[in-house]
């Protein structure tokens, strides 16, 4: 009887002891594993290649041979293309480590930012499998790393305008001092006029001493308004997302040009951002690099969802606007918008319309507004 019982007991008890020992050892190793994950930078532009760093340290005298981490990132952050799974808008990357005692591995992933946005990695899953998979320990490790991807800057120099189109001085009717760089024409010489102002060719022509007449100018503030609606009757989600994404890129390009030219810039949009998805965007005016960076942050976090009907929004944000350079980024123009633009021109504003849809028709375009197809 005992001869039969002893091996049976051995077959049950010894494997059980073995199993529990393996579990305990695995838990011990798991408790001593330290893990961090972070983006190398916190700001990047669309199309940039940056790095994501994972650091694992086995602070224990036993080896952690099968350690796996699951990184849950956005699908628009392209990395580990050969070993990642796409689940909806999430990219799940399983990264495996094999650590000896007290060993530390720093894994640097090449990551390409495919689309603008604010991306966060909050938790990564850490899993440690024991020898022969007898025990598996797993935990969600808070990572909390954040990356803001700014929209791409598109090249528009050869398409529509030079820098002066937006940021040059504009002629005004009354001012105290004239602008010596802008010549309006020539007038007769009055005593007291300096000699270097004499227009010699005009003098020869008129047979009278003529001097250059300068004009009065002023620098205008720039006000960029983005219409998030891709078509006229769009009530919530954007239908043609590509057009609006392109509009966001154009807006970023305008901000970039404004920063380079030192112009004051203001931005408004009838959509919300990731932090405040129920409020429309209306920023103050500014020209510093911090201000432009803030505007780019706003663009990065913009949610493609219409919060307010654009015509109403357009009227409200421009109600008291005078002597400004207004740039309207939109996919369409309707009669209501044309009326508002006409009012704006009457209030001594320069209005430039950048039409994002190449095939859209501009209905009832008011006189004095410039139209560009971008």
């Amino acid at each position: 009887m005992l001869i039969v019982l002893i091996p049976i007991v051995l077959l049950i008890v010894v494997p059980m002891i073995f199993w529990y020992s393996v579990k305990a050892i695995n838990q011990y190793i798991f408790d001593h594993v330290e893990y961090t994950c972070r983006f190398v930078v916190n700001k990047a532009h669309e199309g940039d290649t940056i790095y994501l760093i994972e650091e694992v340290h086995n602070n224990c005298f036993l080896p952690a041979k099968r350690l796996m981490t699951s990184i849950h990132a956005s699908r628009w952050l392209e990395f580990a293309t050969t070993q990642s799974n796409l689940v909806g808008l999430t990219r799940v990357v399983t990264s495996e480590f094999s650590l000896k005692a007290y060993e530390r591995i720093k894994r640097t992933w090449h990551l390409r930012c495919a689309k603008r946005g604010v991306y966060e990695i909050q938790n990564n899953t850490l899993t440690l499998a024991s020898v022969f998979q007898l025990s598996v320990q797993s935990a969600a490790i808070p990572v909390n790393t954040k990356l803001t991807v700014f929209p791409e800057i598109v090249d528009m120099r050869y398409m529509i305008f030079s820098g002066n189109d937006f940021f040059g001085d504009t002629v005004i009717r009354r001012w105290i001092l004239d602008d010596p760089f802008i010549t309006a024409g020539a007038r007769e010489y009055f005593p007291g006029d300096p000699m270097n102002r004499i227009h010699w060719s005009a003098t020869a022509k008129h047979n009278n001493i003529m001097v250059r007449k300068n004009d009065y100018t002023a620098k205008l503030d720039l006000f960029v308004i983005l219409n998030i609606q891709s078509v006229d009757n769009e009530y919530e989600d954007v239908i043609n997302k590509d057009l609006i994404e392109y509009g966001i890129k154009v807006a970023a390009t305008v901000f970039d040009l404004a920063l380079k030219n030192g112009a004051k810039i203001q931005f408004a949009c009838n959509a919300g951002t990731q932090g405040e998805s129920t409020k429309t965007v209306l920023t103050p005016s500014g020209s510093s690099s911090q201000h432009v960076q803030h505007l780019l942050n706003v663009l990065s976090g913009m949610v493609l969802k219409n919060i307010r009907y654009f015509e109403e929004f357009f009227r409200n944000v421009t109600v008291d606007k005078k002597d400004a350079e207004i740039i309207l980024l939109t996919c369409y123009i309707n009669r209501e918008m044309s009326d508002i633009i006409r009012d704006l021109i009457r209030a001594r504003n320069n209005v430039k319309i950048l039409l994002l849809d190449r095939y859209a028709k501009a209905i009832a375009m008011p006189e004095g507004a410039d139209l560009y197809y971008v």
Binding site: I3, P7, L10, L11, V40, Y102, K106, N144, K146
Partner: protein, 399 residues
């Protein structure tokens, strides 16, 4: 050709060899006209089970890694599995060996310098004194086979575990052949397992062995308990052991510089790093430790420290220069904590600035701290401090 064939079918080949062993045992027992062969069979089955589990486990692991094409192939799991199986075999064999043969077995084991001779010796432990030369002769072929497989065939290190299985089979064949030829010796060796007489006599013989084993196991357990106590309570000893192990690793580690491995998607920088134990003398705050303290003032301080250590683990963001009021405000991010924190902070302030506290109040502080400890551990709170960033989306500078 043979090499390729062996490489492709090695797992199947070696395992099929293993399957013959129980039949050999049966034939051996039939020839010897005894019915005690199943002891060996059980022993064999158990060892084979361990060896199979090890082999299969490693095989799956190995092929999985091959499929993913991401991992260095020079790992030694199979070796570990093989050694584990061999150790199990040796231990089991030792368990089934009578007590009076222990001296001889120890002598034989001491001859072996590597695992295979140890196993070899274990198999031939009974006859080792009488047939030393013969034993060594029997060892030679297994050595040759091992040597050939290990050094001659390509990637032979990866089939190390199978070598262990093969040696097991080879030894089994040698063993069976040896004893089948000498039936008298078989009778002598297996005499104690004969069941020709009454079952009672047999059980009696075994019960003596079991009772002795139980006494020994009891002694062993008592000794282990004592040692465990020593280890647990003698903190310096634990620290000493840790330092010793770390020191050994520091001394023997091969790669003292950072090693870089380039893959298609990522780059690995591998180095060995020992965490400095400068802060090893830090006070560890536990609930058990709190109840052990008798001094009321120390108890309140410890209770507050316990809550602070919990908040630190949760990454609430309490800094060393924060006052008690600031700590109270910061701790409000944890839900329902203020009901314990407010009175505890008040008590702590009395102790902190007045250094006085009665026993009743200290007990109250301890209860509050334990409740706060539970609340913090059960709460879900994610810190909003980003690992890579000083960036605040909402609070950006606006001109």
């Amino acid at each position: 050709m043979f090499k390729e064939h062996l490489k492709k079918y090695r797992f199947v080949f070696f395992r099929s060899l293993l399957a013959f062993y129980p039949f050999i045992l049966m034939v051996d027992a039939l020839i010897a006209e005894r019915n005690a062969w199943y002891m060996e069979l059980w022993c064999y089955l158990f060892c084979a089970f361990i060896a199979f589990a090890a082999g299969i486990g490693y095989e799956g692991y190995y092929f999985n890694r091959l499929r993913q094409k991401e991992y260095p192939t020079r790992k030694r799991f199979r070796q570990v599995a093989a050694i584990a199986a061999v150790i199990m075999i040796v231990l089991l064999y030792g368990l089934l060996t009578p007590v009076d043969e222990v001296a001889r077995r120890v002598y034989t084991l001491s001859r072996g310098l590597v695992v295979y001779p140890v196993m070899e010796a274990a198999f031939f432990a009974r006859e080792v004194e009488k047939n030393k030369i013969k034993d060594i002769l029997y060892m030679v072929p297994s050595f040759i086979v091992t040597f050939l497989l290990y050094f001659v065939f390509p990637q032979a290190r990866r089939i190390y575990g199978n070598i262990a299985m093969l040696t097991l089979v080879v030894h089994g064949i040698f063993f069976a052949t040896y004893y089948t030829d000498l039936s008298a010796r078989i009778k002598q060796t297996y005499g104690r397992l004969k069941t020709r007489g009454s079952i009672g006599r047999f059980l009696k013989a075994w019960s003596a062995f079991v009772s002795k084993a139980r006494t020994l196991a009891g002694d062993l357990l008592m000794q282990m308990r004592e040692r465990w106590k020593d280890l647990t309570y003698n903190f310096f000893l634990v620290k000493g052991f840790k330092k010793l192990i770390t020191g050994i690793f520091r001394f023997f580690r091969r790669d003292k510089e950072t090693k870089t491995e380039r893959h298609s998607d990522y780059i690995d920088e591998i180095d060995t790093w020992f965490v400095d134990e400068d802060n090893a003398d830090r006070v560890r705050y536990t609930v058990r430790g709190l109840y052990k303290i008798k001094d009321p003032v120390r108890k309140v301080r410890y209770a507050f420290g316990l809550v602070m250590s919990d908040l630190k683990e949760k990454k609430v963001g309490i800094r060393y220069f924060d006052t008690v009021t600031v700590i109270g405000e910061k701790s409000k991010v944890i839900k329902d904590l203020d009901q314990y924190m407010d009175p505890l902070c008040e008590m702590y302030e009395h102790v902190r600035y007045g250094d006085r506290c009665d026993e009743q109040r200290s007990e109250g502080a301890a209860i509050l701290a334990v409740s706060a400890d539970t609340t913090i551990k059960e709460s879900y709170w994610q810190p909003k401090v980003y690992a890579n960033s000083d960036f605040e989306f909402e609070g950006s500078d606006q001109n």
